[in-house]
């Protein structure tokens, strides 16, 4: 069995065993009145003591978690107590940050242990980790893997000399960061900080590009070994995002042969981790978009693109230095964060735009005689919601993370208490539902006067049981973002996003940082949709919003170009908390050889028009089957039939079945 087969079949899990066997360590720690740092360190030490070394046939980059359990270090009662005086984000542990790997890898643990700034907890965790390295070294010797033995004799004790040693070093610390309890541990600009090691090997003639590709492919597998043990909303929601390309602080383009090797390795493995992001700009050469599109064609939904022309100035507007902004990467999903000195909490809250509209509809709309009056009411409501959001987070606290701190500029000696940047980010959900609703309210009530505010409100409140004749008009004919007649809705989106950013910029958070406004939704597109009933855009009660920054699920758009045109109208430089526009394509779009060139041009168009972030999906058979069972989820799934394209969900079942059958031999 090859290493790849072990991982993809899950066979490797048979080596796992519990470290604590049901022991309630939180209760033990509590009984001893141990401080949080001590608890974190003891758990880490216990896990390391339990870890076993396993090296698979042919595996080059080793390390796999074998402890199957991961108990909390606080008891439920203690958490209740902590929450009385603190805001606790998600699980309470550090998450969703980009460590500065260079800070550790370029030194090695020998030097870090000798550094007087390294504290006792950090030293204990390093020593515990080194004991696991020793187990692997012994195992490598036992099975005669001299290559692994040699690499581990060098790293992570000392700084790497070769590309392989650097990859192994990364793997060990990435493993350890998760093992300490940080989750959504992102990779940052991997191709940039790893490049010197790659380049040195190539220059010295020690490594060929083929060997580098083999190494990176092997290394990428390591992101999929332990991932089922990681916490997340869904399997796969583990934040192992990696950023390739982009400029440096001087504006130089940073896309190397190594960046390309990473794209190829990702396409070769066809696994969901690491999640590839590409930084691009309007000066990025066309062929790079083609390379990205070749990966899109593989059908994993990445690369996700971000636009340096928008994100860097956007971060600078929020107070990041130019040098730090230029190093940006993405957090678990899409939030733009900086490595090594950004301890931002980019997903701490969310503004529901449809909620804003719903409040205005019920409270102010009847007295709004003009569009201007409606605009004023909407702005006021956004201001009120932003005040609520920003006052809801007080006295934020995270469980300390000694090992993570090694990778950060941590003025308090512990990164969980903050770093240079301590900003909070808020998603902005349901933008199209809100903008479409406002456009409909203006068109039918204020301008055409074919409906009164009372009638519209009654219709919405009764889920269109009353005034049911309004439903087809509002749903199928009213202006919609991304649709042919969407200009009025687009204008509202511009206003909503601008107001959101302006209002958030008025506040400082409890750690002295700023508030960042975004366009993402995460799971909020379902949560927020269930909070309100129907909406004036013809969305019925219980129907979700579009995900992230996307058209409404029932907007009839002429295609991806119209969507791009519509969604690049807002000044996205103000909304760099992130949140991508998502476009879906059937994999049949990629049937011809020049398809990546064409898709690449579409992405370039998005970037040229000032879009901030873009996600593209080539859809597979599983998705088609899901689309057949749940057509409402896939209104824009395009399938190629013959001389024409169609929306999959608009086809009758026999034809859908055929498209699905066709997917089988295309894979």
């Amino acid at each position: 069995m090859t290493y790849y087969d072990y991982i993809t079949s899950g066979e490797h899990k048979k080596y796992r065993r519990p470290a604590f066997d049901g022991r309630d360590i939180a209760a033990e720690f509590s009984a001893e009145f141990l401080p949080p740092e001590e608890r974190m360190t003891r758990r880490f030490e216990a896990l390391c003591a339990n870890e076993d070394a396993h090296i698979f046939d042919g595996q080059k980059i080793v390390f796999m978690r074998t402890s199957s359990d991961f108990p909390d270090v606080f008891t439920p009662d203690e958490w209740t107590e902590i929450k009385k005086t603190h805001f606790i984000h998600e699980l309470g542990y550090t998450s969703n940050v980009t460590p500065d790997y260079k800070r550790v890898i370029s030194r090695g643990f020998c030097e870090i242990l000798a550094d007087e700034r390294t504290n006792e907890y950090e030293k204990r965790e390093i020593n515990a980790l080194m004991s696991v390295v020793e187990k692997y070294r012994a195992e490598a010797e036992r099975i005669g893997r001299d290559d692994v033995y040699e690499v581990l004799s060098r790293v992570p004790w000392e700084a790497p000399r070769t590309f392989r040693e650097a990859l192994q070093f990364f793997r060990i610390v990435h493993y350890a960061l998760w093992l300490e309890g940080t989750y959504h541990v992102t990779c940052g600009r991997f191709d940039k900080y790893m490049y010197p090691y790659y380049k040195a090997d190539i220059d010295a003639g020690r490594l060929t590009d083929e060997e580098a590709l083999d190494l990176v492919t092997d290394f990428f597998l390591s992101f999929n070994i332990d991932s089922d043990l990681y916490p997340g909303v869904q399997q796969g929601d583990n934040g192992q995002s990696m950023v390739l390309g982009g400029c440096d602080a001087d504006g130089n383009d940073w896309f190397t042969r190594l960046s390309e090797i990473c794209l190829l390795a990702s396409g070769k493995n066809k696994l969901i981790d690491p999640k590839i992001n590409m930084r691009v700009s309007k000066s990025t050469p066309a062929d790079r978009f083609v390379k990205g599109s070749r990966l899109t064609a593989v059908g994993m939904g990445f690369p996700q693109y971000s636009n340096d022309d928008v994100v860097i100035p956007g971060l600078e507007k929020l107070g990041y230095s130019h040098e730090d902004a230029a190093e940006y990467g993405v957090a678990a999903c899409w939030e733009f964060i900086v490595p090594g000195n950004g301890f931002d909490v980019a997903n701490i809250a969310a503004l529901s735009f449809p909620r804003v509209v719903d409040n205005v509809l019920h409270r102010d709309f009847a007295s709004c005689k003009t569009k201007e009056e409606l605009t004023t009411a909407v702005k006021k409501e956004i201001a009120a919601q932003c005040a609520n959001i920003t006052s809801s987070v007080k006295n934020l606290w995270f469980v300390p993370a000694p090992f993570l701190t090694l990778f950060f500029d941590a003025p308090h000696g512990d990164v969980s208490r903050g770093s240079k940047y301590n900003n909070f980010g808020a998603h902005g959900t349901g933008i199209s539902t809100a903008a479409d609703s406002l456009a409909a309210m203006v068109k039918y009530v204020i301008e055409d006067k074919t409906v009164t505010a009372e009638e519209l409100t009654e219709a919405v409140d009764s889920d269109f049981e009353k005034h049911s004749e309004l439903l087809p008009i509002l749903r199928n004919e009213a202006p919609k973002m991304g649709a042919e007649n969407g200009e009025e809705a687009d204008e509202w989106a511009v206003l909503l996003l601008r107001t959101f950013a302006e209002e958030m910029s008025e506040y400082r958070n409890c750690r002295g940082g700023c508030w960042r406004a975004g366009t993402g939704s995460a799971m909020y597109y379902l949560w927020h949709a269930s909070e309100i009933g129907a909406s004036p855009d013809g969305r019925r009660k219980g129907e979700p919003f579009g995900t992230n920054y996307s058209p409404s699920l029932f907007a009839k758009t002429p295609g991806p170009v119209s969507i791009i045109r519509s969604f690049t109208k807002p000044e996205l430089v103000n909304n760099v908390n992130g949140g991508p526009l998502t476009l879906e394509f059937d994999s049949s779009v990629f049937s011809e050889a020049d398809a990546p060139e064409k898709l690449g041009a579409l992405v370039r168009y998005f970037i040229a028009l000032g879009g901030h972030q873009l996600q593209l999906n080539s859809v597979s058979k599983d998705v088609l089957l899901d689309a057949q069972a749940h057509p409402e989820k896939y209104p824009r799934l395009i399938v190629r039939i013959w001389g024409w394209s169609a929306y999959f969900t608009e086809l009758d079942k026999p034809y859908q079945d055929h498209v699905i059958a066709r997917q089988e031999y295309k894979l």
Partner: protein
């Protein structure tokens, strides 16, 4: 000339229905009827293209996959899923609904739509021009398809000419069935032509498409001599066009051309039911 519709009836009329010489349309804003505009059409020529589907076709190919492109008049299409609520038949006063006897704005499930929108060539060209940056980035442009675009020759000439003025690359997908004058006039305004040659034998051609192929072959000859970039396309219809005999015949007629064979797809009949018609080839 054979065919369902007299091509002279449509090819050279302007926005007011006045008949003009086909060669005088270049600057004349002309009304046409289209049934779809597809963005990011990746199978219709070089680069990223937007394809405009013109309504009306003098042919009636048994395998036609765009049946709503056949009639040169607007028609109503209804997706499956009607729950017979009767709202669309309750009567309404919208002028746009009157020709169909059903209200287009009433279906709670949004199942009704009209195939066929009248549009001015200049207004359409301006709209298509919005994405000229994308066309330029990708080496793409606009493709006219159908239906048979040449059936609205005057509209084609006017639209293509205007697109040319905007610097947009222009392609056309045609059956080649049009008068010499219309074919030449449209050809003059194109940068790339996809011309079908479905069946080599004229009688067989007539049996399956409703028209003979002599005029098509003559136009293909005009195309060859024009110096324009072109490609001959052959749809491979099982038992009809993909026979050894037909393919040999086509090879003999196209020995000097670039030929592309388009595999047939069973999904071709998807839209017949929506028009309340039967897809004969399915039998």
């Amino acid at each position: 000339m054979d065919g369902k519709f007299d091509i002279k009836e449509f090819a050279d009329r302007d926005v007011e229905g006045k008949v003009f010489d086909i060669n005088k349309f270049a600057d004349r804003d002309t009304e046409g009827i289209i049934f779809d505009i597809k963005e990011f059409a990746v199978h219709d020529g070089e680069g990223v293209r937007t394809t405009v589907f013109l309504k009306g076709c003098p042919l009636s190919c048994t395998w036609c996959h765009n049946p709503e492109g056949q009639s040169p008049y607007s028609e109503i299409m209804e997706k499956a899923g009607c729950v017979k609520c009767g709202r669309c038949r309750a009567g309404c006063s919208h002028p746009e609904c009157q020709p169909f006897g059903r209200c287009l704005h009433a279906c709670p499930k949004g199942l009704l739509r009209v195939a066929g929108q009248k549009t001015s060539s200049h207004a359409l060209a301006k709209k298509l021009c919005r994405d000229s940056v994308l066309y330029e980035m990708s080496g793409g442009g606009v493709t006219l398809s159908g239906g048979e675009p040449l059936m609205q020759g005057g509209f084609c000439v006017s639209l293509l000419h205007k697109l040319g003025e905007y610097g947009i690359n222009r392609a056309i997908e045609t059956s080649g069935f049009a008068s010499d004058e219309v074919f030449r006039a449209v050809l003059d305004e194109c940068d790339y032509v996809f011309c079908d040659l479905k069946i080599a034998d004229s009688a067989v051609h007539r049996k399956y498409t409703g028209v003979p192929n002599e005029q098509i072959l003559r136009n293909i000859d005009t195309l060859r001599k024009s110096g324009k970039k072109y490609r001959i396309r052959v749809p491979l219809i099982p038992g009809i066009t993909d026979t050894d005999e037909n393919l040999a015949g086509i090879r003999a007629l196209t020995s000097e051309d670039e030929v592309q064979y388009l595999p047939y797809n069973k999904l071709a009949g998807a839209k017949y039911a929506q028009l309340g018609r039967e897809f004969k080839l399915e039998k």
